[in-house]
C-alpha cells in the first residue's frame, strides 16, 4: 500500500541512549555507562500503511516506539509528523502532494503543542493487563481521551464511548464494568478503543498481540486491519514474531541492537537477497509440515550488550556469514569459529572459561598447569568446532601459536596474538545501507561493492542454506 505520497511520520537519525544511574558516589566519580538502546534510526511511515518492526527481545523496538511519540525523550535526532491542516476539506488524508499538510518536528515541541498532537498519534500497549487502570470503569478508560482533549462530554461522550466499544467488537452495555472482568483479548480491544477515541492518524502498536493466545491474536490482528481500512490509519507495528508481522505489514524493518539491519516491503524481506540476520530470523519461523527438512540457522552466543555494542557491523559477533580477511583462504564455518574463538578469548580471564572440561579432567580443574598443550589444543578445537588443521596454512600457524600462548602465558597473551591477525572487515567497517530496490535497503558489507566478491561462497549458500550451522 505504500504509495508514492509523502510520508506522514518520519525520523532522522533518531537516537536514544540511557545512562545507567549509579549511586551518588558513582556519579561523582564519573562511572556512568551508556546503554545505546536506539541508534541513528531513520524511518518513514506513509499514510495508510503498516510498517512492521521486528527484532529480538532487547533490541530497542519498544524504545523506538516510545521515542517516536516522545513518551521517552530521544537523546538525539528528530521525528517529523506531517499534520493535516485545518483548511483541508475532509478528515481522510487525501494524497494531494504537499498542499494541505503541515510539517511538524515533534522533537523540540513544547509540551502543550505536543499534547494537542496526541490526538493524531496514538499508542497501543503490549500488556493488556497493566495498560488499563484497574480502578476505572471501561467507560472512563475510553472516555479519558475525550475528557482530556475536550472532544465530547455529557450525552455525546456516552454515545462516543458506546460507538467505540461497538467498533472494536465489544458490547456497549459493558461500559460500566471494570477491566478485570474482561479477558486478555477483550482488554486489548479496550486499549485499541482508547487509542481510537481521539481519531488518530498514526497508531504505534507495541507488540499488541504477544501477550495473547494465538486464536485471539488472529482476532486482534484482523480487527486492526479492519480499523486501518475503515479509518485509514497508519501503523507502526512492533513485534518479535515474523509470522505476525508478515500477516499485517506492508513494509518491514528488521532491527538488531538498536539499528535497522534491513528495511523493505514484506515480499522483499521474505525473499532473496537477505541480510544474514533476517535470514536467521526467517529460518526460525516454525513450519507445520512434519516432512519439512529446512535448515534452521542457529545464531551463536548471546545478543551483545547494548552498553558496549560491537564495533563495525554490530552483527559480526554472531553472523554466520561474517566476511573472512582477504589474506586467508578459509571456509566460512572455519572462519566463523575462529572469530568466535577470538571474541571469547577477549572476554575470558581463565582457560577454564573457554573450554568444557569433562569429568575425567578433574585434576586439571584443580591444577591448571597439568593441562598439556595437546590436550588444550584438542579441547579448544572441540569447543569451537575447529577442524584439526585449518584449510589455510597461515591461519593454522597463527591458531597453533595462539593456543600455545594460551597454554603457556594465559588468555591475555593469546588475545594479543589473535587480535591483530584475525580481523574481519565486518569488525572495522560500518555497513551502509545498500539499496536493492527503491524500497529495499540492507545494511551489510556483503551487499556492498567492496566485499560482494570477497565471499562468493557465502552468497552461494544463500541459495542453498548449507555451510552454515545446521540443525542435525
Amino acid at each position: 500500500m505504500s504509495s508514492d505520497t509523502e510520508p506522514i511520520l518520519w525520523t532522522d537519525d533518531l537516537t536514544k541512549h540511557y545512562t545507567t544511574e549509579g549511586g551518588f558516589i558513582d556519579n561523582l566519580l564519573g562511572r556512568k555507562q551508556t546503554v545505546q538502546a536506539v541508534n541513528d534510526i531513520s524511518l518513514e511511515l506513509y499514510p495508510g500503511e503498516t510498517l512492521g518492526v521486528v527484532g529480538e527481545s532487547g533490541c530497542g523496538k519498544t524504545t523506538l516506539g516510545r521515542a517516536l511519540l516522545r513518551l521517552i525523550e530521544p537523546t538525539d535526532g528528530s521525528v517529523y509528523y506531517r499534520q493535516q491542516s485545518d483548511d483541508s476539506p475532509s478528515p481522510s488524508p487525501s494524497p494531494s502532494p504537499g498542499g494541505s499538510r503541515e510539517e511538524i518536528e515533534l522533537t523540540g515541541l513544547s509540551s502543550s503543542r505536543l499534547r494537542d498532537l496526541r490526538t493524531d498519534l496514538q499508542y497501543i500497549f503490549q500488556d493488556p493487563f497493566s495498560s488499563l487502570n484497574p480502578r476505572l470503569t471501561v467507560g472512563d478508560i475510553i472516555g479519558e481521551p475525550l475528557d482530556i482533549h475536550g472532544i465530547a462530554d455529557g450525552e455525546d461522550r456516552l454515545d462516543r464511548i458506546h460507538e467505540l466499544l461497538d467498533t472494536v467488537g465489544l458490547n456497549p452495555s459493558h461500559a460500566h464494568r471494570y477491566p478485570h472482568e474482561f479477558s486478555g483479548g477483550q482488554r486489548q480491544r479496550i486499549g485499541i478503543a482508547r487509542a481510537l477515541a481521539v481519531d488518530p492518524e498514526v497508531i504505534i502498536c507495541d507488540e499488541p498481540v504477544s501477550a495473547l493466545d494465538v486464536s485471539v491474536q488472529a482476532q486482534i490482528l484482523n480487527l486492526l486491519e479492519d480499523l486501518q481500512e475503515e479509518f485509514d490509519l497508519a501503523y507502526i507495528f512492533i513485534a518479535h514474531d515474523l509470522s505476525v508481522v508478515e500477516h499485517i505489514s506492508d513494509r518491514i524493518a528488521v532491527m538488531y541492537l538498536g539499528e535497522f539491519a534491513e528495511v523493505g516491503t514484506t515480499e522483499e524481506i521474505f525473499s532473496e537477497p537477505h541480510h544474514p540476520y533476517t535470514e536467521a530470523l526467517l529460518s526460525a519461523i516454525p513450519e507445520p509440515d512434519p516432512l519439512w527438512e529446512g535448515d534452521q540457522i542457529f545464531l551463536e552466543g548471546q545478543v551483545p550488550s547494548p552498553i558496549d555494542p560491537p564495533s563495525g557491523c554490530q552483527f559480526h559477533t554472531r553472523c554466520p556469514r561474517v566476511i573472512p580477511p582477504a589474506e586467508y583462504d578459509l571456509e566460512q564455518p572455519e572462519w566463523r569459529s575462529l572469530l568466535t574463538f577470538k571474541l571469547q578469548v577477549r572476554e575470558a580471564e581463565e582457560v577454564t572459561q573457554l573450554v568444557t572440561l569433562t569429568e575425567s579432567d578433574k585434576d586439571i580443574r584443580e591444577d591448571q598447569s597439568r593441562l598439556s598443550r595437546e590436550r588444550l589444543d584438542g579441547l579448544v578445537r572441540d569447543e569451537f568446532g575447529l577442524p584439526p588443521e585449518l584449510s589455510d596454512h597461515a591461519a593454522e600457524s597463527v591458531l597453533s601459536d595462539a593456543i600455545s600462548d594460551l597454554h603457556e602465558r594465559g588468555t591475555h597473551a593469546c588475545e594479543a596474538t589473535l587480535e591483530d591477525t584475525y580481523v574481519s572487515p565486518c569488525e572495522t567497517n560500518d555497513p551502509v545501507y545498500v539499496e536493492h530496490s527503491p524500497t529495499h535497503d540492507i545494511a551489510c558489507l556483503l551487499h556492498g561493492d567492496n566485499y560482494s566478491q570477497a565471499a562468493p561462497e557465502a552468497n552461494q549458500f544463500g541459495e542453498e542454506y548449507d555451510g552454515t550451522v545446521v540443525q542435525e
Partner: protein, 337 residues
C-alpha cells in the same frame, strides 16, 4: 522430505472462520457479578469479622456519646441541642469529694466533686476529634508530598526524601512537647504538633507504593493520551497506591489519641480543668497508688485510663480488619483474564 516451506497451509489464522466467531463469547460474558468497590470491601470485611464489628460498635458508641454529651453551638447557633450527660463536666461539687461509684454518679466523682462519668464521656470529644483531624491533615499532606516525590523521581525525589529524613530524625513526642511548650496548649496547637510529625510516615508509605504503581503501562498510556501530570497522579497513580495509607491512617488514629493523652498526662496540652482523658489522669495522678489518708480512690484514674485503652484497642482492631480487606487487593487487580 522437502526444504520448501508452505506445503501445508494452516487455515484459521487468516480465514473467515475467525470473523464468524463471536468475539464476545468469552468467559466473563457470563459472569455478571457486580464489582465490589474498595469501601464495600472494607465494610463487608468488618461486618464479617466479629471482633472488628465489636471494635467498630465501641468506637461508634464512644464517638456518638461524645458528640451528644453536650450541646454544641457555633457562633450562637445551636447545631447539636442534645445533652445526654447528667452533669456539666466542668461544674464542681455536684457530689461529695471523691464519692465512690453509685447510681447517681456511675463513675464516682473527683477531688473537686465533679461527676467523672460526664467528664469521661465528654472527654472523648477532645481525644477522638484530635485523632481524626490530625490523621486527616497528616495523611492529606503526606500523600501529596510522597506522591510528588515518587512520581517525579530523580532530583525532586532526592531532595524531598532528605527533608523527610530530617523530620523522621526528630523524636515525635518530644517535638510535639516542644511545640506545645512554645505555642501553648489547646486544640489547634496540639493538632499542629501531631500533624507536623505524623505526615512523614504517610509520605514514605505512599512514595514506595507509587514507585511500584508508576511502572504500570496505564500511567504511560495516560501520558500518551496527553494527560497532565496532575491528572495522572490524582486519577491513575494515587487511587492505585492509597490502600496502605488507609490502613496506616486507621491505625494511627489510636496512636494520636495515646499521644494526646500522654501530653495531657505530662501536664501539657489542655488547661488542667479540661475533661480530656490524659488531663484528667494528670490531675488525679496522686491517687494512682494510694489515696490520701489511706483511702484508694481508684475510680478517679481507672475510668479515664480505661477509656483510652478501649478506644485505642478498638481502633487497632478496626485497622487490622481494614488491612485484611485491602490486602486481598490482588484478587481484584490483574485477576481474571
Amino acid at each position: 522430505m522437502s526444504t520448501e516451506r508452505g506445503r501445508i497451509q494452516i487455515s484459521g489464522f487468516d480465514t473467515e472462520d475467525i470473523d464468524d466467531q463471536d468475539p464476545l463469547a468469552t468467559a466473563s460474558e457470563l459472569e455478571s457479578k457486580e464489582v465490589e468497590s474498595r469501601w464495600q470491601k472494607i465494610v463487608s470485611n468488618i461486618v464479617r469479622d466479629r471482633l472488628a464489628l465489636g471494635g467498630f460498635v465501641v468506637v461508634a458508641v464512644m464517638g456518638l456519646a461524645a458528640l451528644l454529651s453536650q450541646s454544641i453551638s457555633v457562633g450562637g447557633v445551636t447545631i447539636q441541642p442534645l445533652s445526654i450527660v447528667p452533669y456539666d463536666p466542668t461544674e464542681t461539687a455536684v457530689g461529695a469529694r471523691y464519692a465512690a461509684p453509685s447510681l447517681s454518679h456511675p463513675m464516682g466523682t473527683d477531688r473537686l466533686g465533679r461527676d467523672l462519668f460526664s467528664r469521661v464521656v465528654t472527654g472523648g470529644r477532645y481525644s477522638i476529634s484530635i485523632g481524626l483531624v490530625v490523621t486527616a491533615l497528616a495523611a492529606t499532606f503526606g500523600v501529596i508530598y510522597g506522591s510528588i516525590s515518587g512520581y517525579f523521581g530523580g532530583r525532586v525525589d532526592e531532595v524531598l526524601m532528605r527533608i523527610l529524613d530530617i523530620v523522621f530524625a526528630f523524636p515525635g513526642l518530644v517535638l510535639a512537647l516542644i511545640l506545645v511548650a512554645l505555642f501553648g496548649g489547646g486544640f489547634w496547637p496540639l493538632v499542629g504538633a501531631f500533624a507536623l510529625v505524623g505526615w512523614a510516615t504517610y509520605a514514605r508509605i505512599i512514595r514506595g507504593e507509587i514507585l511500584k504503581v508508576k511502572q504500570n503501562e496505564y500511567v504511560l498510556a495516560a501520558k500518551a493520551l496527553g494527560a497532565r501530570d496532575r491528572t495522572v497522579i490524582f486519577r491513575h497513580v494515587i487511587p492505585n497506591a492509597i490502600a496502605p495509607v488507609i490502613v496506616q491512617a486507621t491505625l494511627s488514629i489510636g496512636t494520636v489519641v495515646i499521644g494526646v493523652a500522654a501530653l495531657g498526662f505530662l501536664g501539657l496540652g489542655f488547661d488542667p480543668g479540661t475533661p480530656e482523658w490524659g488531663t484528667i489522669l494528670d490531675a488525679e495522678s496522686d491517687t494512682l497508688a494510694t489515696g490520701a489518708g489511706g483511702d484508694w480512690y481508684w475510680w478517679a484514674t481507672v475510668f479515664p485510663g480505661l477509656m483510652i485503652f478501649v478506644f485505642v484497642m478498638s481502633m487497632n482492631i478496626i485497622g487490622d480488619a481494614v488491612n485484611d480487606a485491602l490486602d486481598a487487593q490482588v484478587d481484584d487487580i490483574g485477576g481474571g483474564g
